[in-house]
Symmetry: C2
Subunit: 181 residues, 2 copies
Amino acid sequence: MKIAFVTGNREKFEEDKAILSENGIECEHINLDCPEIQADPQEIAKHKAKYAAEKIGKACFVDDTALCFNALNGLPGEYIKFFADKLGLKKLVKLLDGFEDKTAKAMAVVAYCKPGIEPVVFEGVVNGKIVEARGNRFVWDPIFQPDGHSQTYAEMPQEEKNKISHRKKAMEKFVKYLKEE
Amino acid sequence: MKIAFVTGNREKFEEDKAILSENGIECEHINLDCPEIQADPQEIAKHKAKYAAEKIGKACFVDDTALCFNALNGLPGEYIKFFADKLGLKKLVKLLDGFEDKTAKAMAVVAYCKPGIEPVVFEGVVNGKIVEARGNRFVWDPIFQPDGHSQTYAEMPQEEKNKISHRKKAMEKFVKYLKEE
């Protein structure tokens, strides 16, 4: 089986490709700009998957990420990349200076769509906390330390992160779906 | 002259109507849901005005607002309503606890569009600072204190706010344009 992964992010592609290939699923990289609507993460991902499936004329998936600070009622959420680009990691962490609660949720939303059919969505969530940046990988990996670990996502070897990540959890559900399809 | 103002916000309508009527321009309220794209404030407003003009089949304007915290490199910006809804004003102010700089810019972006013609945009900016909420009006009026004033937007009588506001500045440019058109 070979499926198309629509993303502009090469690191994301490598992570998902590794997870899929463990399950005997080949993954093709398609770099296509999809319009982002303002909505909740599930709706944004569905909208993008549907757009992409129609554009490229075959089944594909997108993989969106959200980082939700619990003290901020879920913000930045799906806007994390925008926040990180705008603020940088140092200021992003400082947003929590006024708050006791440093806990956060890392969320992945995978949306899969075949042309002409409504997209399906798979979610993965990892609880953790926001810390001063340690390590260097991906956008916000250095400031997220998953519960039960002493390293941030960015400090973990890639294979270890892939075993426990929010994306892994979402992809597992997606793989299960693909195998049963 | 009578023009259509497309907004879901009744208070906004009343403010702009007052400013326009001082200039002999009548204003009709049209409540239409316009899709919000993820982009900079000017592009968002243009997109909405164009969408609305085509939908209702006549010239209309939209009026978007941004509140930019300077310490946060312009955030929340055009996402201010989303932030305020999500966080409430208390937490919104606490975002700046880790930062010395409490200054902010209030911005209005008015986009005017006739069906079939590219929209034009008018901006108004007021400098000020973010304070603990005082007064009660509009979404974030209680936490914005314009430079040179001891009251927040929300504490000022409506007529006084209308004289100095970011919206007033944008509307003045818009009125000038309408009169010369």
